[in-house]
Amino acid sequence: MEMDKLGVITTFIHNIVVYNIPLLYGTVGEIVVEKSGSLNLGVEGIMAVGAIFGYIVGCYTNSMLVGILTAFAMGALMGLLFAALTVSLQANQNITGLTLTTFGLGMYFFVGNAIKAVRWPIMSDYSSIKNGFADIAIPGLSQIPVVGKGLFSHNILVYLGIVIALCMWYYLNRTTPGLRLRAVGENPGSADSVGINVKRTKYLHICLGCGIMGIGGYYMGLNMSGSFSSACWINGYGWIAVALVIFANWNPIMAILGTFVFGFFNTLRVSGSSLAVAFPETLGWLAAVPTQLYQALPFIITAIVLVVTSVRKREGSGLPAALGLNYFREER
């Protein structure tokens, strides 16, 4: 009995990681984009496009790596579209981003339904995908009781997500191109005047960030075992990612932490009742909490963070000063 209860906790921790690392991809991707001064509200659509193409191409080639690369490439292409419209053609970022979401979700269902009409690839038929998505235990660490299996035995995309987040933190804060990128996001005019190629910097990082989002979408598709239905795989995670960027204060390492915080609520929504059953005395009340509260919490918390940071006008806020503003050289 005791073992069972501990098992529930282990599963809970495991689920926090498995079901929410896609958020980390979306968030880190959006951080990279926003650091270039572009507010991209198309995360949901970009993840959807990465997901559908990554999944289908990955299955047909029976290669996880091809799937990941396809998802990245399709995400980056969506980014290229966003960059072309907002950086070169000076279109409004909010509207372009929102349209990218509509467009991306439209494409997701259009392509998905078209493939389904012919032959939908079933994940378990493709050995490399199925095995590639299996958990890999980290020797040693995964032996720790209770938390070991929860935290250190995961599929390859979980580790990749963490690695990308750490790399992006290092890139943004400790390298020259990262410094240049931040300069562009803070004040493109000044960056331009010291010889930084603003356009190129924006294009590159919008594409890079959107590519990362695409991989997150692919992950969500695999998480759903690739079963295509009337609900999109992304299921609002793109919007939570936009919120998480703020919660994480535009810091990829904080994004890892934030993913676990938001993921904690998200997992309570799914497995709160099993916790309540395992610990009736202490956690029995969990069964009575409406699931919608867990769903709303990320947005409520982010709203509070937004207000608090704007009231305190705190030093060290990661909000890029030129976020959402297009840069037109002649108006400098």
Binding site: F109, T302, A303, V307
Partner: protein, 367 residues
Amino acid sequence: MGFHIVKRDSCPLWKKALLYVIAVLAALVLGGVLLLAMGVDPLAYYSRMFTMGMVGNKIAYKAFENYLKVFVPLALTSVALSLAFKMRFWNIGGEGQFIMGSIAAATVALKLGPVLPSAITLILMCLAAMLAAGIYGAFVAVLKVKFGTNETLMTLMLNYVALYVLMFLGDRKADWNFFLQEQSARPVFQSFADLASFPKIMFGKFGLNICVILTFLVGTLVFVYLKYTKHGYEISVVGDSAGTAHYAGMKVNAIVLRTVFLSACLIGLAAAFKVGTAGVLSTAITDDVGWTGIIVAWLSQLNTAVIFVVSALISMLHYGSVAAAATFSKVDSSFANMLQGVILFLVFTAEFFIRFRVVRNKKGGKQ
């Protein structure tokens, strides 16, 4: 050799119109190529889509009534959003405000509907919805003027808070929850169609919902408000430059608050129209008008008259694609969303050529 872009001083109207038409046609051609690739005749598909399946349909009047049900909330929401956008206040919160308005309207219908005459209930529904949505929107405007809170992100967050409140109401069976049917064991929204429902003016079999007339009326009022009143002038000055407005002695904060409140109020009115026509709440009550309205308002360059035309067309796209999907089973109705995206992207491209000129750099000049 390189190029650079310069702002145009002005662009003749015919050229503008031509560029827009080319953009939309190009989008339709792109969509057509996609349809061809799927083995569907694009002309047949488009004619089905733009006639919304009404040709050769015995109950075409019904289809047109349903089309208007899509059109009314979208047009009114887009008009409402354009008010805020004119001041560069990024009200992305149409969805949330619409939901809050819907809940308020439904509350009035369910609580007061049984005791009041239908006409009074409907008026109270409109007022309650406007107030609820207005407060929900103005709350963000207060934060914006007091603390400089980013309104784009804030309204975005509140959309989801509202959505989950609505989903909670639609999901939780309880004594206090009068939104749900009492007899049903499963949570189902209680209908109030027989308590309060907007009247129709009958033209033969076709019933013109009074909301359509009211929407055009409100649209005209907003047009006049923006163009001919002091308030309208203030809005355009604040939109151009808050600094200028301040320097001219305008109370910028008060103008922002007032306009955002009005904008959100009108979204609430759109919600009341929707709820009072549907006769029941649903978790998908907004039909995404809060999102689509943003696109419509922007496509119309925030011009009230153009908004009516564009929302008629976009509603046609959405309603028509569903109708066409019945005939062309290969083409999913999500085609409309894709096409809408492509249209907007190409219109943005057209807009670029309206606003800017591409100039070839002179030889020997600076790079």
